[in-house]
């Protein structure tokens, strides 16, 4: 440890402190065995298994996957991208919720403030909006990829059904967020959209009333769309996503024939 002059150098001290920190009990308690951040991690098959097995990731991925399944050209990672976009939207959405009030008087003003006054407000709002459009696109492309590979065939039929529900929920999530800026674009796009729902035979008017809390788009409808957008639909879609991911593993892995 000591250098030529018999004194401990700064670099050695930093290294010593660093070693002490990473081998401390606190860090040891946080990191599970096999974590690549743990002191003395070596790249062995055993540790590679531990990285997944001793980790929350084990709920998503098995320790080993078929070699052809990891080829990017097979899945194009579209399902994963849909999931990433959902996480993006959750994070940016939480940021936006701090600055947004779902009332007819304040909603538009809040969005204006977000676009002009608040630090990163414009960036985060743009990310949230384009992320939502990309998610609709990627979920649809994911479904198309699955169809062209015939990956919905037994034993994966039920996961396809869950996937269709997820696509529908994605559309509902995007559509319910559309009204929240409370500008002319939002108001009239949602008016056109909910008018389509009103054409449902027998229960059309009821469906429309449940969505809008009124016969037309109104302040009550804004609050309703807000709650549906930030709470109800995410809650439902997380449940269906959990089933979807669980079935992916139970039905034989992320891709390829069984």
């Amino acid at each position: 440890m000591a250098n030529r002059n018999g004194k401990t150098g700064l670099r050695d001290r930093i290294k010593e402190t660093n070693d002490k920190l990473w081998s401390s009990q606190v860090v040891g308690a946080i990191l599970r065995p096999g974590s690549p951040f743990k002191q003395g991690y070596s790249d062995s098959p055993r540790n590679r298994s531990y990285v997944v097995m001793n980790n929350v990731l084990y709920h998503l991925h098995p320790v080993k996957v078929k070699r052809h399944a990891v080829k990017l050209s097979y899945t194009l990672c579209l399902g994963g991208l849909s999931f990433f976009l959902f996480i993006h939207l959750t994070i940016t959405g939480i940021f936006l919720m701090f600055y947004y009030t779902p009332t007819a008087e304040l909603a538009y003003v809040n969005i204006q403030e977000l676009s002009t006054d608040i630090a990163f407000g414009s960036l985060v709002r743009n990310m949230h909006r384009w992320g939502a459009h990309l998610m609709v696109l990627s979920v649809f492309l994911h479904m198309s990829r699955v169809f062209y590979h015939g990956a919905y065939k037994p034993p994966r039929e039920f996961n396809w059904v869950i996937g269709v529900v997820l696509l529908f929920l994605t559309l509902l999530l995007s559509f319910s967020g559309y009204l929240l800026p409370w500008d002319q674009l939002a108001l009239w796009a949602v008016t056109v959209g909910t008018n389509m729902a009103g054409f449902v035979p027998v229960v059309g008017d009821q469906v429309k009333f449940v969505l809008l809390a009124d016969v037309e788009v109104s302040a009550a409808g804004l609050l309703r769309f807000y709650v549906l957008h930030v709470l109800f639909f995410p809650f439902i879609i997380v449940i269906f996503m959990s089933i979807h991911f669980w079935r992916v593993r139970k039905d034989g892995g992320i891709s390829g024939p069984l």
């Binding site: 098995p62 500008d183 002319q184 108001l187 796009a189």
Partner: protein, 321 residues
């Protein structure tokens, strides 16, 4: 039945010829079904080799024994003991080893020879083992045969393979970390970068505050519903607004795996399914593009290069030029 190797057939014929005192060629021809039947002094027994594998030892197959003395089907051990007992001149050292061999390896050839009793290893071959059975007549020696001479007959050749596959087929697998997770991490970074760039370059639209008294012209739905809005302008709202999206869009798609009973996943086997889906995709894309770009005032047809684009989602992008 498995083809019997020539060497085994010949060895069997030699033994039989020796026992019956007839030329080897004659017996061989009869065994191959070419020549006339060799006169056998007394009918030999044994139709089936009663040597079951390890798995099926608990319930040995019923064997047909036309000897009235042996009514009950003997188990493997019993048969081996009989063979041992039926060899008066046999070496006591050799046959227990043969019995042990039977227990260890399943079907083997148990051959009964007069003087030099061999061990079972001499008769088993590497890839095939002969399941044969001697026809011992300890009490009544066959007439016309020298004392102590036994005959044998090749019954079947059983491949030395277990009935059940114990080990699963090996699969070509790689560790999830790092092979899959690095790819996913790369995808996460790429989509984040794309989002940040999009967010910096294209601004979200924010038009005038909501006004119930000023209907914009045209009023368009979000882009993913514009295909439906396009359909609504052609058909009765009850059909386009409800039947197409709910029946075809949701119920129809959920039923896809239950309607498409074709088990193959190869594209060449699923031409119709692929064609159908491609028609759906191109139809939906056409309708959406028509609704986004080619619909102007009053939702009438317009050319984007002449009348401009009426799509406020990309207002910032459109007004950029």
């Amino acid at each position: 039945m498995v083809d019997i190797p020539e060497s085994l057939l010949r060895r069997s014929a030699e033994a039989k010829a020796k026992a019956l005192g007839v030329p080897v060629e004659q017996v061989l021809a009869e065994m191959k079904g070419e020549g006339p039947a060799v006169e056998v002094p007394q009918a030999e027994i044994v139709e089936e080799a009663p040597f079951p594998d390890e798995q099926s030892r608990s319930e040995p197959p019923a064997e047909q024994v036309d000897d009235p003395v042996e009514e009950a089907p003997p188990s493997t051990e019993e048969v081996v003991e009989e063979v041992v007992a039926a060899s008066p001149s046999s070496d006591d050292e050799a046959f227990p080893s043969a019995a042990a061999e039977v227990e260890e390896r399943g079907p083997v050839a148990v051959e009964d020879k007069p003087e030099d009793s061999p061990t079972a290893e001499d008769h088993g071959t590497d890839n095939a083992k002969v399941a044969g059975l001697v026809s011992p007549r300890p009490s009544v020696p066959p007439t016309g045969l020298p004392d102590g001479v036994r005959t044998q007959r090749l019954l079947t050749v059983v491949k030395a393979r277990a009935i059940q596959d114990v080990k699963p087929e090996p699969q070509d697998k790689v560790n999830t970390w790092p092979h899959l997770m690095l790819v996913e991490f790369g995808a996460l970074l790429a989509i984040t970068a794309l989002l940040v760039i999009m967010a910096v370059v294209i601004h979200s639209p924010l038009l005038d505050p909501a006004n119930f008294n000023a209907t914009p012209n045209p009023s368009k739905a979000p882009w993913y519903f514009l295909g439906l809005q396009e359909l609504l302008s052609y058909f009765d709202p009850q059909i386009a607004g409800v039947t197409v999206p709910t029946i075809v869009g949701i119920i129809g798609f959920m039923m896809v795996p239950f309607v498409d009973r074709n088990p193959s996943t190869r594209p060449s086997d699923r031409k119709f399914a692929i064609l159908l889906y491609s028609i759906f995709i191109s139809g939906a894309a056409t309708l959406t593009i028509l609704g986004v770009l080619f619909r102007g005032r009053g939702f009438n047809f317009s050319y984007p290069w002449k009348d401009g684009i009426f799509f406020d989602d990309l207002k910032d992008w459109v007004d950029f030029e």
